[in-house]
């Protein structure tokens, strides 16, 4: 057990893609520490599902949220104390179903958070139903004759919504994923990492992904080119699809003010309130 792993029993299936994300994130924390970001300031959240168990396994502070809401939770953390580096782990059902609005709006307002989606295109913990990213025809207990819906493309969606860092990773490409995660946390503004994560029990995609993934050589330099890359189904391109610098939400709202670390003293606050309560003479 390393110093980023808790005592919690790990209950992911043998071969689960979540291990790849767990291990890559721990290595990314190591890289971030080398780059001057302390692990004490990295705070995590997670939604509900197999992915969420990463919250218990990672020895990092945070708030284990509810289904679909981890992306709202970490935005609140950032608003409260902008010195923190919040990371929301979410499943594809979490991020693209239950909590889609939070994801799109976090991108729209360029909230300075990182969203890591464990995208296995299946609900694992509730035993194998189709999700927003499942292929049409996916058979699960709620779609016994196959899903009749087309899958969402989360990357084009987030690019259009205004995300300032968009990446795709694959659990099998560990070193590549570690760097993606470190870059995402470092990026000032909204970072989105969609991770292809095979579910060995309900949607084993190792073979399919191994056949079609390819690492992108260079990050596209315009949004239009990024959208073209994001739309490609084969090869399925891994890497940073888009990165741009824009003011983060909290900075645009408050500059470099920190609500908890630079709290106004009570005497000053009360003087201001007393002044507001003084009747304005007509």
């Amino acid at each position: 057990m390393d110093d980023l792993t808790t005592y919690a029993d790990n209950t992911w299936c043998k071969g689960c893609g979540n291990f790849g994300i767990f291990n890559a994130f721990k290595k990314a924390v190591g890289k971030l520490e080398q780059r001057g970001i302390s692990r004490d300031s990295i705070v995590i959240s997670a939604g509900i599902g197999c992915h969420g168990k990463i919250f218990d396994y990672l020895k990092l502070s945070g708030l284990y949220s509810i289904h679909g809401r981890s992306m709202a939770t970490v935005q609140g953390i950032k608003i409260g104390n902008p010195n923190l580096k919040p990371v929301a782990f979410a499943g594809d059902g979490d991020a693209f179903g239950e909590g889609l609005a939070h994801l799109v709006f976090a991108a729209k307002r360029n909230a300075d958070i990182t969203v890591v989606v464990h995208d296995n295109a299946v609900y694992g913990l509730t035993t194998g139903q189709y999700t927003p990213t499942s292929q049409r025809g996916f058979r699960g207990p709620s779609t016994p004759r196959g899903s009749v819906e087309e899958p969402l493309n989360p990357l084009t969606l987030l690019l259009d919504a205004g995300a300032t860092f968009v990446a795709r990773g694959y659990t099998v490409k560990q070193d590549h994923l570690v760097e993606l995660l470190a870059m995402a946390v470092e990026h000032e503004g909204f970072s989105f990492v969609d991770i292809l994560q095979p579910c060995v029990t309900f949607n084993n995609t190792y073979e399919r992904y191994n056949g079609i993934v390819e690492i992108l050589e260079e990050t596209p330099d315009t949004l239009e080119r990024a959208l073209v890359v994001a739309r490609r189904a084969e090869p399925l391109l891994l890497g940073v699809l888009y990165e741009v610098k824009k003011p983060a939400f909290h900075v645009a709202l408050y500059g470099d003010w920190n609500p908890v670390e630079q709290r106004m003293p009570s005497t000053e606050r009360r003087e201001k309130i007393a002044a507001m309560l003084r009747p304005a003479s007509t």
Binding site: S61, L63, T73, G76, I77, G80, L253, M264
Partner: protein, 553 residues
């Protein structure tokens, strides 16, 4: 009927500046050192319809508007028809002469004068103020000062219009009312402003809300004063985001408040339960309007009492408290924020449109607001347990960044905050949270949880903004009774309330099913002899309420 009260009512279409004219009247009276209560009745629309503002003023305490007015200014035909029933004996109505079939004594050419200026629709409110000034015997210079100060945009046209109306109105209504000065100018506050300022005085760091009447003006007020007060104000995509962001901000150590009305608060329900499990301190303002569902958005009702008491799945301790006046709203907001943090539980400030959006003169001492600094975790390094199982059930908080591991959890968890399904730990954590309620109950024994006004034998139980109506009805009707108002509803101050159970209790509330009466019976064994309810969306008129109370006493 109180003889010392003067009431001004102005009615018209949305967009004619009705509410503004009411607010200006309130400031005039406050500036005269008088006490004021202003109630705005408006519809859920932006143009047209019918709005009115009623301002009652006295040299002594006043806690409600009166529907019978001494002076009515009807800015349109509909107002003239509707409000002719709202004239007090010897009361006077000024209406638009241009809309009358034949010249009447009180007709003032509001429309034809307004048409001499650009945007005539915007002038009417100025006309109402000019008519009021004439009726009160103010000189023209004083009127010009008022208009310059209150209607500074496009001021020349406003002064010209006000002067013209004054000249027509003065011969008809001039010096009709002689209002004496009061004992000193007091600030005027809407209930929602009092909640916002009270929370700020109690240490608020962050306010998160999505607009919903009648809570929106908390958001608007704090957004307008965020930098001045040092409060971060965020309006995200939904109430679901609101509540979850707020819990996230609390995790970061920010004292956070959210606000909504019934529908929006229903969307926060899942997160309220999260706050219960994660032991997140969170102050929620629930300002009620008539339901169910979209209901009657801009009016008032007390239909959400059971909702506030029972909101959220699962079992967890909470506080529900409801202010009986604007001043109390100020102190209670700060007190609840601090109790939420002291006990790390959600606290709900339950109020209604009638308090949120009514305006009154207040005497507030900012220094009386509580703002204790929490000691936080003082223990050894590497030993921190977010959910340490203490005697009181309250675990000392610690906030990131920290070398300690701080885990808040929506799942049942062990003391470290790591998920558990182990039966003994599940039981232990339920017990720990439940002990917070026991501890809170004993803590509240030293807090004023119930207000009693008057010394008569018959107890009249009421709560929230209806307290304002009942207190004013006592004065209006010369009723001998004692008004018993629980400020805290959960934990319920049972023994305090039971002291008043004898003597044919009367209950007054704005609900159709008598939720508050049932609450008193179920929680305190108090059996009301009479329940007076109203559920048309409008607050009680004190004179009418006094009649209903006398009818059952």
């Amino acid at each position: 009927m109180r003889r010392d009260v003067f009431t001004f009512l102005v009615g018209g279409r949305a967009g004619q500046g009705v509410k503004k004219a009411g607010a200006v009247a309130s400031r005039l009276f406050a500036h005269m050192g008088r006490q004021v209560f202003q109630m705005d009745d408006y519809q859920s629309l932006i143009r047209g319809g019918h709005n009115f503002s009623v301002v009652s003023t006295s040299r002594s305490e006043i806690s409600s508007h009166y529907m019978k007015a001494d002076l009515v200014v009807a800015l349109d035909e509909r107002s003239r028809e509707l409000h002719s029933q709202h004239l007090r004996r010897n009361g006077l109505m000024i209406c638009d002469a241009d809309s009358l079939d034949e010249a009447q004594a009180c007709g003032v050419s509001l429309t034809s004068e307004a048409r001499k200026h650009p945007d005539p629709e915007l002038r009417y409110g100025v006309g109402a103020v000019a008519a009021l000034a004439a009726a009160l015997g103010f000189g023209k210079e004083r009127l010009q000062e008022i208009i310059t100060h209150e209607y500074s945009r496009d001021v020349d046209h406003n002064i010209a219009y006000a002067s013209a109306i004054y000249d027509v109105a003065h011969p008809i209504v001039g010096d009709r009312f002689d209002l004496k000065e009061g004992d000193g100018e007091r600030p005027l506050l809407y209930g929602n402003e009092a909640i916002a300022l009270g929370a700020a005085a109690g240490g608020l760091d962050v306010y998160v809300a999505y607009p919903m009447t009648p809570s929106s003006s908390i958001l608007h007020f704090l957004a307008a004063h965020d930098r001045d007060l040092g409060v971060a104000v965020v309006h995200p995509e939904s109430e679901i985001a609101v509540a979850n962001m707020a819990i996230g901000a609390a995790f970061a150590g920010a004292r956070t408040m959210v606000g909504s009305s019934g529908g929006g608060f229903a969307l926060m329900e899942e997160a309220l339960s999260l706050a219960g499990m994660a032991e997140a301190p969170l102050l929620c303002v629930l300002s009620s309007r008539p339901g169910p569902s979209t209901g009657v958005p801009t009016y008032t009702e007390q239909g959400d009492l059971n909702f506030a008491l029972n909101q959220g799945h699962g079992e967890f301790p909470r506080i529900v408290a409801s202010p009986g006046g604007v001043e109390e709203a100020f102190y209670l907001a700060g007190e609840l924020l601090n109790l939420a943090w002291e006990f790390q539980i959600p606290a709900i400030l339950l109020t209604e449109k009638h308090l949120s959006e009514s305006k009154t003169t207040v005497d507030i001492d900012v220094e009386q607001a509580l703002w204790p600094e929490s000691a936080g975790y003082q223990g050894e390094e590497s030993a921190y347990c977010r959910y340490s199982d203490t005697e009181a059930g309250v675990s000392p908080p610690l906030f990131p960044p920290s070398s300690e591991l701080i885990k808040w959890n929506s799942y049942e968890h062990d003391e470290k905050g790591v998920t558990t399904e182990e039966p003994a730990m599940v039981t232990r954590m339920h017990d720990k949270r439940a002990r917070k309620r026991t501890h809170l109950e004993s803590f509240l024994k030293d807090v004023r949880t119930v207000n009693v006004y008057g010394e008569g034998e018959t107890p009249i139980f009421t709560y929230g903004s209806t307290t304002l109506s009942v207190r004013e009805a006592m004065a209006a009707g010369g009723i001998e009774a004692k008004v018993v108002q629980p400020v805290y509803l959960e934990p319920t101050p049972t023994s305090e309330l039971r002291k008043h159970r004898k003597g044919n209790p009367i209950v007054v509330e704005l609900s159709s099913t008598g939720q508050f009466a049932r609450f008193l019976t179920e929680r305190c064994g108090i059996k009301p002899a009479h329940v007076i309810t109203k559920y048309d969306g409008r607050p009680f008129d004190p004179d009418e309420l006094a009649k209903r109370i006398k009818g059952v006493m």
